[in-house]
């Protein structure tokens, strides 16, 4: 069989055509993507919107990554600024007023055509739209809303949209933005009020947390409304709120950072708190000179964050004021286990699900698989491999039918030495792979 596409269909081109504006747009995209690349969040999960005939796009609860950039980060959304013409002068930011960098602004139409064109080719799940502060917060948010409205209503786009709200935006505009977007986020930026006053004088705690609380209440009211009504309601920020903060530009400890993020999860009901290890892009007397924050610190903070969100850990179990930094050599779960060695070894065939979750090296999926498999018959060490459970860390902390894994000496000091040694080895190998930043810690 010899098919050509000509045999199958001949369609007239009614598609978007850039009409020679390609090169100009190429430059705009370069500037506005570069200006957005330090934003961390690039997730497309947390909301399901089914497809509708005649309209482009849907969203999946689990989210889909579409590519991975040279730094290993996932690309799932077209992450750009609407504009990088900024009236603020935050010390750490590439787009601050006093930087002499090329400046530009999308037109709503250009942005919409980019999103649609990329989406149709399966490059992206949707749009992540942030912006520098054009004139003032309300003016900026209004421009962003115009662009999103064109995309949603004129182009009928049903894919994912994550919109950054500028601190200090008025409530009317937040409502408008929240109806157009799936996720809205306000950046905390820095882990303490003093740091924010110092490095981002135009922003303040109040004008970040105020809108955040407003969006939280809006989500709640919208959800209750939906529960009570039988007609279909417009959804308000269906994928929830998130925030991000820069780690390492200011002297806050891991303890302060994790306490803050725990309280944000509790009081603001955020879906995610993102951390961003500080990368110097500006030279400023207020900033630590030329020192990059090691990626390993960010990694450990995320591990702690995961323990709070999925493993039912309390922040006080992970970190304490006396010892305010996470151990770079051993992950926070191992650390907890070694400090509470009296609760181990855990018998795989007996301990409840909650305890399985606390065994280092066993994840949520692994714990669920163990619970499922042990209903049928008791589990031996060789069965764990069949359950796809890595024994590298787990083997020190478990027994199967009362016996330890082969060669394991159940002693906290020797376990710590083993695990720390493995981290050191990995980091030494990381240097060969070009991950220099891991060594700096």
């Amino acid at each position: 069989m010899h098919w050509t596409t000509e045999h199958l269909f001949v369609y007239t081109i009614q598609n978007i055509c850039l009409k020679g504006r390609g090169v100009e747009l190429l430059d705009k995209l370069t500037i506005l993507a570069d200006a957005a690349k330090y934003d961390v969040a690039c997730t497309s999960c947390g909301v399901t919107r089914t497809a509708v005939k005649g309209q482009l796009g849907n969203t999946m609860n689990a989210g889909i990554c579409h590519s991975f950039s040279a730094d290993g980060r996932c690309i799932t959304l077209l992450k750009v600024l609407y504009s990088n013409v900024c009236s603020y002068n935050c010390a750490y930011c590439i787009n601050r007023r006093s930087n002499e960098v090329p400046r530009t602004t999308f037109s709503p139409r250009e942005l919409a055509e980019l999103v649609i064109g990329f989406y149709r080719r399966n490059y992206i799940e949707g749009l992540f739209l942030s912006s520098a502060v054009l004139k003032n917060p309300d003016y900026t948010t209004e421009r962003m809303c115009e662009a999103l409205q064109l995309l949603r209503q004129t182009y009928g786009f049903r894919g994912y949209i994550h919109a950054k709200a500028v601190p200090g935006t008025s409530q009317d505009l937040l409502v408008r933005l929240g109806v157009l977007a799936d996720r809205v986020s306000l950046n905390i930026e820095l882990p303490s009020e003093e740091s924010l006053r110092l490095l981002a004088p135009e922003k303040s705690k109040e004008n970040t947390l105020g809108p955040m609380a407003f969006v939280r209440d809006g989500i709640k009211a919208n959800y209750q409304d939906k529960q009570l009504s039988t007609v279909k309601r417009t959804r308000f920020v269906p994928a929830g709120q998130s925030t991000q903060m820069i780690v390492g530009a200011t002297p806050e400890s891991d303890f302060q950072i994790l306490k803050l993020s725990a309280s944000l999860y509790r009081t603001m009901e955020l879906r995610r708190v993102f951390f961003s290890a500080y990368i110097p892009v500006n030279t400023d007397p207020l900033l630590p000179a030329g020192v990059e924050t090691p990626l390993l610190r960010e990694h450990r903070l995320y591990q702690a964050d995961w323990l709070m969100r999925f493993y039912e850990f309390n922040v006080d179990e992970i970190i304490s004021e006396e010892d305010p930094f996470l151990d770079p050599l051993v992950d926070p779960k191992c650390n907890w286990a070694l400090k509470h060695i009296d609760q181990f070894p855990a018998e795989i065939n007996k301990v409840p699900y909650e305890m399985l979750l606390r065994i280092p090296g066993i994840g949520v999926r692994g714990a669920k698989r163990i619970v499922m498999a042990r209903r049928h018959r008791s589990i031996r060490f060789e069965d764990l491999k069949r359950l796809n459970i890595a024994l590298k860390r787990a083997k020190y902390f478990i027994t199967c039918n009362g016996s330890y894994a082969q060669g394991v000496i159940f002693d906290p000091t020797s376990i710590y030495a083993q695990l720390a040694g493995e981290t050191k080895q990995k980091r030494a190998k990381g240097v060969l792979d070009g991950q220099l930043q891991l060594l700096d810690s």
Binding site: H2, W3, T4, T5, L8, F9, V10, Y11, I13, Q14, N15, C17, L18, G22, V23, L26, D27, L29, A33, D34, K37, A51, K53, G54, Q55, L56, G57, S67, F68, S69, A70, D71, G72, R73, K79, N84, N99, E100, V101, P102, G117, F118, R120, R121, N122, Y123, V281, T283, E292, M372, R375, H376, I379, R380, R386, L387, N388, D433, G434, Q435
Partner: protein, 318 residues
């Protein structure tokens, strides 16, 4: 509550069957069962490569009370002296009986799983499916939860591989618009996943006609904005790209390069998430010298660096 009742249900089903098996075992003690064991170990069934053929072979094994080591397609055969090969005729009514048996005894999702495993490229998938069904018809509807059983674990492992390959395709399929308006994607997956992924794209991209062509398994899915169907095709000659296509590819390549943070370069991490075998069909991996258009401007990061360097140069002499 749900899990607890399922546990009881599976045990009730399990025990009478176990008792039956014990009785059978005691009757068969002696040389007859021993010799049949030796014969079974070498036995390999051959089928024509279709799902019906595979299910017919499963039927044959149950009917003849045989325990074939593997069930393989006759054209991909590498004969071994130690095995005896038995070709099995594909018979649709027999295949339908096995299918109905799976649907009735093990449920709809079990049949979906069998179909998924069948899409795998794993050479031993036939044996794995047979051993799973052999186990599951005895152990019952909940046997997919018996994760520590080798027969179940092997089966679910292949299912996992197929599902993960399908998910890779949802991530990495790249459509290109052709001059006739059709969107075309070429893929080279490790399992024949086109039937698993087309629904996703037919819903999401329902405003555009598209073709996804898998050149490893010679299978294409064609979507005309109303419905989609599968076409087996040895070759597809795609028309040339539309005018907008090259622009969009350049834009995407530019975005892809720009969004990476140079200080955090980490090719190992990148390849862990996105193995190199996918790169050939992804336009962002076309090397810079072969690209059609490139941006002319400097990026803000670049400009800020120059500025910072300039300041330093001015400060140093003073």
């Amino acid at each position: 509550m749900d899990s607890f009742s399922s546990l009881i249900a599976s045990e009730q089903r399990l025990f009478p069957l176990l008792d039956q098996r014990k009785q059978l075992g005691s009757q068969n003690v002696g040389e007859a069962s021993f010799s049949s064991l030796i014969d079974d170990a070498e036995l390999i069934y051959l089928y024509d490569g279709s799902l019906e053929g595979m299910l017919s072979a499963v039927f044959a094994a149950f009917q003849r009370h045989e325990n074939p080591e593997d069930i393989v397609t006759s054209h991909a055969l590498q004969e071994s002296l130690l095995s005896s090969y038995v070709p099995v005729q594909t018979e649709e009514p027999l295949a339908a009986r096995v299918r109905n048996g799976i649907l009735e005894k093990l449920g709809d999702s079990a049949y979906e799983d069998v179909k998924k495993v069948f899409l795998s490229d794993a050479p031993h998938k036939g044996g794995v499916i047979f051993r799973y069904l052999h186990y599951a018809f005895t152990a019952g509807r909940w046997s997919f939860t018996h994760l520590a059983e080798p027969a179940v674990a092997d089966f679910l492992e292949i299912r996992r591989q197929v599902e993960s390959e399908a998910h890779h395709m949802l991530m990495f399929v790249r459509f290109a618009q052709l001059s006739n308006g059709m969107f075309y994607a070429h893929i080279e997956p490790k399992a024949s996943v086109v039937p698993l992924i087309t629904d996703h794209f037919a819903q999401r991209l329902n405003v555009q006609p598209f073709i996804i062509y898998d050149s490893v398994h010679n299978l294409a899915s064609v979507f005309d904005t109303e419905r989609w169907w599968l076409v087996s095709a040895d070759e597809i000659n795609a028309a040339e790209h539309s005018r907008a296509e090259d622009d969009f590819q350049s834009l995407w390549q530019t975005f892809y390069d720009t969004i990476a943070i140079e200080e955090r370069r980490n090719p190992t991490c990148q390849r862990n998430f996105m193995p190199k075998r996918f790169w050939g069909n992804m336009c962002e991996h076309i090397p810079p010298e072969l690209r059609k258009q490139k941006p002319t401007t400097k990026t803000p990061t670049h400009a800020a660096r120059l500025q910072a360097a300039g300041q330093k140069l001015l400060e140093e002499p003073a």
